[in-house]
Amino acid sequence: MSDTASTIRVENLTFAYHRDPALRDVSFTLEQDAVGLLGPNGSGKTTLLRALLGQVAVQPGQVRVGELDMARQAPEGRRLMGWMPERGGIIPGHSGVGLVSYMGELSGMPRQDAMQRAHEVLHFVGLKDERYRPCDTYSQGMRQRLKLACALVHDPQWLLLDEPTSGLDPGGRVDMLELVNDLAGRKGLGVILSTHLLADVEATCNEILVLREGQLLERQPVSPTVVGGRQVFEIAGFGGEEAFVNGLRDLAEVVEQDGRHITAVIDLDSLPDGDDVPMARAVMALLELARTCDYAPRRLRRRPITLADEFYSLVNPEGV
């Protein structure tokens, strides 16, 4: 497997702060991809991001971005990375466009290029006239957009985002996640999203890396396909609820009801054979039951939060 110019290759990465091991023998390779970085506080996430930026000298181990060794060629490597920190991340006293162009120049862009590109990325992130105001007057939503703009101005190949939706209201969250999706999906940037919000990871990432106590626990895709086994169904609707729930107890292993919301665990493998895939057969059986009981389902689906389930089983709760 050959590395392209933007492959991130981490090998046997080990790092300790004063004998306190922050990272232990972490290895992985990333092609252009949207990856979620998850883990409890103190698991080494921040250290890993610093290592990717070439800010910590790692021994032993190696971090390579394309052909560049971040330990020795950090400046060139940093040109390929865009960093959006969680806390702060602005410099008071500059206007929005002033700050973004400043960062562009520091990343090795000629002055005019930096200014022009600053305006372009500010349009992309949705900052309009406020770009001329001092950035310390910005609201949280504007700040996060500004930080994203600073990370994009030099046209990096990788975006390292640390809690990008921090402090944003629901509308702001949606906008930010859309921007990230656009960049990762259509514009060819690699994204590493470090966050505690699984919902954000589900919305944007294809894979997750899970760290715990400095070690890489697991790496896997975000939505594994369902073939069989026990599945949890969420059902909600109107009408003959009681009859429906009673009938459900014959079909499902476990039935729970919370107001109008019904949760049922059905073992797909226990359904009678048929032509269709097990999921479809299960749903049709439920629909048949609904028709019989005069129940009108408005929701009938497999519970979608599987990422959380898998994550919790990985990271042993007792140890947190």
Binding site: G89, Y102, P110, L152, D182
Partner: protein, 285 residues
């Protein structure tokens, strides 16, 4: 393509010249205060003593021996010692200019985790410090070196002679060396102060104490006959340390060599503080 991409586009480098990071940082540090009016007014005000000195030099040259002793003494002389005296006299402007340019230089960067932005870029600690030091040194030079050099030229033109050829070569070189040393030293100490917190006000207060209070205490010591008070005279030490370069007598009742050692120690201390405070990224647990 008839309709161009309206969303995020990639950068097409224009191939124009790229400035090194320290220059970018220096330029930005100087640009901000220059946009407002009163720093420029201050700059003009700082040149007034130079203009006064120029006038006196001119008048004395033309009036001959009559005015030789009367006015100003050392301060108005165009010997190296005279320039040192002149620059010493600029200390209040030096304080103002350096504090305006330099007090917030690192403090503002630290206030909102701005340092992590800098060091996710391809710059080194040397670039960062170099650029910032250059900002303060530029301000320092503008109120000390620049007027002095012009006075050198003026002094030569007023009375061109073989003796005053010094004014065109040797004296400027001494001035350059002197202001480089003092400028760098003051910049480093000021930046170290700026890096110790995030609030500019505290930096201003401490810098005022160092620059102005030290001098005042020294004078009090002179008044009551206690020479040892002069050891607190921060600004005085710098001028004392370079008094040898400027062929001047000691500016304090302290041996210049002692002042020199003190100043070098201050610079080293400032560098240590800066290296410690400007860690590339804050560690978040």
């Amino acid at each position: 393509m008839p309709v161009h991409e309206r969303g995020y586009t990639h950068w097409n480098p224009s191939g124009a010249r790229v400035d090194p990071p320290w220059l970018v940082i220096a330029r930005r540090g100087l640009a901000a205060p220059m946009k407002r009016r009163w720093p420029l007014l201050l700059l003009f005000a700082a040149w007034v003593p130079a203009i006064v000195k120029g006038v006196i030099v001119f008048v004395r040259a033309k009036a001959g021996e009559l005015m030789d002793l009367a006015v100003g003494g050392d301060w108005t002389s165009i010997s190296p010692a005279g320039f040192l005296s002149f620059i010493e006299g600029q200390r209040f402007f030096v304080f103002l200019v350096t504090v305006i340019l330099g007090a917030a230089l690192v403090a503002a960067d630290r206030r909102e985790n701005g340092l992590s932005l800098y060091f996710s870029r391809p710059i080194s600690l040397l670039d960062y410090l170099g650029g910032k030091v250059l900002v303060v040194m530029a301000g320092y030079a503008a109120v000390t070196l620049a007027p002095s050099l012009l006075l050198c030229l003026f002094g030569y033109l007023v009375e061109p002679s073989a003796a005053s050829l010094d004014l065109l070569l040797l004296t400027p070189l001494r001035l350059l060396a002197m202001t480089a040393f003092v400028g760098a030293g003051l910049s480093l100490v000021l930046l170290a102060l700026s890096s110790m917190g995030t609030r500019t006000v505290l930096v201003v207060v401490w810098w005022a104490v160092l620059c102005l209070a030290g001098d005042a205490i020294g004078n009090i010591g002179d008044g009551i006959g206690l020479d040892s008070f002069q050891y607190v005279n921060f600004m005085g030490h710098w001028h004392n340390a370079v008094s040898l370069i400027m062929s001047s007598e000691a500016r304090l009742p302290v041996p210049p060599a002692v002042s020199l050692v003190l100043c070098l120690a201050l610079m080293a201390g400032a560098l240590l503080v800066l290296r410690n405070r400007i860690k590339p990224v804050e560690v978040v647990v």
